[in-house]
């Protein structure tokens, strides 16, 4: 019974398909074709895989097997499809949308003649955090972590976090950008480096000197960041003509947080740029910004040397001009190139100045008209090596302090606001082993303090890890 059953089963297994095949000749043909198709498809897939494997094996450093016979391939008859190597690996799909990440590591060794804790830009009301040459000996510069990606077809996001050497973190930039919703228009909102002038918009790791020009330190306390919105529009012309407006919270120096609804700053800028022949290109710009400060306090000492806190309240308006000129023989920057940049800024503050806000608290009018400029040139004289010179100068003007004119106090009660013309001369040479690493030696003679020169030597490194960042002009 068992044997019989087995035979029957085997018989059924054998006969049923045969019978069913025999039953329909056309079906046989169909199945045959299907198998043939399947085989062909697998053959071609295996060939593709082999090809891909071969390509992978030909990594850099291996001598490529130059055996391909010329003429093996003929011109394709159909339009080639875009290859999809990026998404080839299925296992990577969970993190395939990870944003681009890059990290800047930097640090320096500083040798400062004068105690950096006594640093001041004489004649200017201080504000912001990034004033002065930093600390002595070894120090870590801000480590910048940048994360960016497209958000959807309409927006892209950009985030830069800075970790300072004292372990504090700050959001350098964090903005959303839309490109081209209106032709020629780029809209940014969030926190961004303000578009005032030229250098302010450029991250510190891409600067040509260790520190910011004095004029940026005096007027912005380093770099001006705005929490707000920026709109730029490019004219449809063969020459760059760009108009931009920016508005926002205006809480950063020289403005202050006013706990107000609405906006506290407004800015407009204008750029024109083009090439001059194959070897030269330039961009010139003009900017105007208006903001307000309320109880923007700073520390000083009075006429007998007792520390006091003073505060400014009023309008802070400024305008600036900037120029960048770049030269490279025939536009090829690899061997030699030269970059010249200069900026002029003028700030007018009009309002009231309160003296000793925690004590006597006297207050009267205050007006100042102050300006500053710098110019610098950086020459790459051979691949990897560059040398540069920079000259900074500020003019504090003489502030009109109501409390002094009325005779309530004397000019000696406002020593930081005495008239002064800070100057600085800087020379640097840097060496970049690759596009991603740079070492710099810088010497500066800094005369920002009243009647005192400070000789400063810096040895700096800047390294870039991760995504290859493109640089602005």
């Amino acid at each position: 019974m068992y044997k019989c059953g087995m035979a029957a089963i085997i018989g059924v297994i054998l006969i049923v398909p045969v019978a069913s095949l025999a039953a329909d000749e056309t079906e046989v043909e169909t199945i045959r074709n299907e198998i043939k198709d399947l085989k062909e498809s697998y053959d071609s897939r295996i060939q593709q895989l082999e090809h891909r494997l071969q390509q992978t094996e030909q990594g850099p450093g291996l001598a490529p097997a130059a055996s391909a016979a010329p003429g093996a391939a003929t011109a394709p008859a159909s339009v080639p499809a875009a290859s999809t190597t990026a998404s080839a690996s299925g296992s990577a799909s969970a993190n395939a949308f990870n944003p681009a990440i890059s990290l800047i590591l930097g640090g320096q060794f500083s040798n400062l003649q004068r105690d950096p804790s006594t640093y001041q830009i004489g004649g200017f009301i201080p504000g912001g955090e990034e004033i002065g040459p930093g600390s002595r000996s070894f120090s870590l510069a801000e480590s910048e972590l940048t994360v960016s990606a497209n958000i959807d077809p309409y927006f892209s996001g950009y985030f830069v976090m800075a970790v300072a050497s004292d372990n504090s973190t700050s959001v350098e930039e964090g903005y959303i950008q839309n490109t081209g919703a209106i032709a020629g228009t780029t809209i940014k909102f969030g926190r961004m480096l303000s578009g005032f002038g030229y250098l302010n918009e450029i991250h510190a790791h891409a600067w040509d000197f260790v520190d910011a020009p004095l004029v940026l330190q005096a007027f912005f306390g380093g770099q001006l960041k705005e929490d707000g919105i920026q709109v730029r529009w490019l004219a449809p012309t063969p020459v760059l003509v760009e108009l931009g407006v920016e508005t926002g919270k205006g809480s950063a120096f020289p403005g202050s947080d006013r706990n107000n609804n609405g906006v506290n700053s407004a800015m407009a800028f204008f750029h024109v740029g083009d090439d001059v022949g194959e070897s030269n290109s330039y961009r010139v710009g003009a900017s105007y910004r208006a903001t307000k400060a309320q109880d923007r306090s700073y520390s000083d000492v009075d006429a007998i040397g007792i520390p006091v806190t003073n505060a400014f309240t009023g309008d802070s308006n400024m305008w600036g001009l900037d120029l960048v000129w770049k030269w490279a023989p025939n536009g090829n920057t690899v061997e030699r190139n030269f970059k010249f940049q200069a900026e002029y800024m003028h700030r007018i503050e009009d309002g009231s100045l309160a003296f000793n806000t925690t004590g006597a608290s006297l207050s009267d009018g205050y007006q100042s008209s102050q300006s500053g400029w710098y110019m610098q040139g950086v020459y790459q004289f051979m691949p990897r090596w560059r040398a540069g010179l920079r000259y900074d100068q500020l003019n504090s003007g003489s502030a009109d302090i109501g409390l002094v004119t009325t005779g309530a106090l004397t000019a000696a009660d406002f020593p930081r606001l005495a008239q002064n013309d800070p100057k600085r001369s800087t020379a640097m040479v840097d060496f970049s082993p690759s596009e991603f690493s740079r070492f710099r030696l810088q010497f500066a003679r800094d005369q920002a303090r009243f009647n005192e020169a400070d000789n400063q030597i810096f040895l700096q490194y800047i390294m870039s890890l991760g995504t290859h960042g493109a640089h602005k002009f």
């Binding site: 090809h51 390509q55 992978t56 094996e57 030909q58 990594g59 450093g61 001598a63 490529p64 130059a66 055996s67 391909a68 010329p70 003429g71 391939a73 003929t74 011109a75 394709p76 339009v79 080639p80 499809a81 290859s83 190597t85 990026a86 892209s156 490109t179 081209g180 919703a181 032709a183 020629g184 780029t186 730029r232 490019l234 012309t237 063969p238 020459v239 760059l240 003509v241 740029g273 083009d274 090439d275 194959e278 290109s281 961009r283 770049k326 490279a328 025939n330 536009g331 090829n332 920057t333 690899v334 082993p433 690759s434 596009e435 991603f436 290859h468 493109a470 640089h471 602005k472 002009f473």
Partner: protein
């Protein structure tokens, strides 16, 4: 005619001009590199206005995102570049600042040519310790004429899409170009047959497609790692390695500084050849056909 009328008629004229422009406006093509500008001119004829963003004597990795390029990108209907991160140092800035949605990645108005060809040297290991390598493979794809043909088909398709009114024109030009190009390929392969097996030392890894196509052998490069210029020590090491007859020729592309290659040639006694690399690199490389004519002629001239 009073003043008001004058202004009115002027306004009407301007409005008419503006309104009429699109019907005979050319397609604005922004070509990152000379080879794509030449291809766009071949295929687009007088229906396109081609702006070439760089010239053959500029290192394609190291173009500045100049204001003039931003301005040109702003008005482009189509941007054609190599992609595969060759232009990573400048193209993204142009795309992000030009405010032009047509030329963003993924749009029909942006062609990354390297996406449409089989790339060589896709690295198995991604590490910057290997120098400035490109994750998507070697991007210097234009030196295999088969790649030019493939990119040409893509470009024609995109032109038809963007400027549908002239589709037949682009079709005809494409057909004509591909026919002439195939004939030329056959001729070049015949002419270059004696070059097979020639052992070459290029300055940078930017000739691998030519080498593979013509069956040459890349012995080594003058650069120790891609994008890292050779030091004096590395050069003297190369002299030692090349003296024993390990190679037939040292080559450099027109945009590269001749110093290192020339001194290496003098010290090893090997011939040095300057290759155009792209259209305009040498006087002979006037167009895409000239690029290959001249490359092969120059290699043959140094063949012993």
């Amino acid at each position: 005619m009073n003043n008001l009328n004058k202004w009115t008629s002027l306004a009407v004229t301007i409005a008419l001009l503006l309104a009429c422009t699109p019907s005979f406006a050319k397609v604005n093509v922004f070509a990152c590199l000379p080879e794509w500008a030449a291809l766009a001119t071949e295929l687009g004829g007088d229906k396109v206005a081609v702006y070439q963003a760089s010239n053959a004597l500029q290192d394609p990795h190291r173009i500045e995102a100049r204001p003039s390029l931003v301005a040109r990108m702003r008005s482009a209907d189509l941007a054609i570049c190599t992609g595969a991160e060759l232009e990573i140092g400048w193209l993204p800035v142009l795309q992000q600042t030009a405010g032009n949605p047509k030329v963003q990645p993924g749009q029909p108005g942006y062609i990354a040519a390297a996406d449409f060809v089989d790339r060589l040297e896709v690295p198995a290991r991604l590490d910057r310790a290997e120098g400035d390598i490109h994750p998507a493979g070697n991007p210097h794809i234009q030196l295999d004429p088969h790649n030019i043909a493939k990119v040409g088909l893509v470009l024609t398709q995109r032109l038809e899409q963007i400027d549908a009114g002239n589709a037949a024109y682009y079709q005809a030009r494409s057909k004509d170009f591909q026919a002439r190009w195939n004939q030329a390929i056959a001729r070049w392969e015949k002419e270059a047959a004696p070059l097979k097996g020639m052992r070459i030392v290029p300055y940078h890894k930017d000739t691998v497609y030519l080498i593979k196509w013509l069956g040459l052998v890349e012995v080594m490069n003058v650069e120790p790692k891609p994008g890292i210029p050779p030091s004096a020590g590395h050069l003297s090491d190369l002299v030692g390695r090349l003296k024993g007859g390990a190679a037939d020729v040292i080559s450099r592309s027109a945009y590269q500084d001749p110093k290192a290659v020339v001194s290496l040639g003098e010290k090893t006694g090997l011939p040095v050849v300057e290759l155009p690399y792209t259209v305009g690199g040498t006087p002979g490389a006037k167009d895409l056909f000239g690029l290959f004519d001249d490359s092969i002629a120059r290699l043959k001239a140094v063949k012993k």
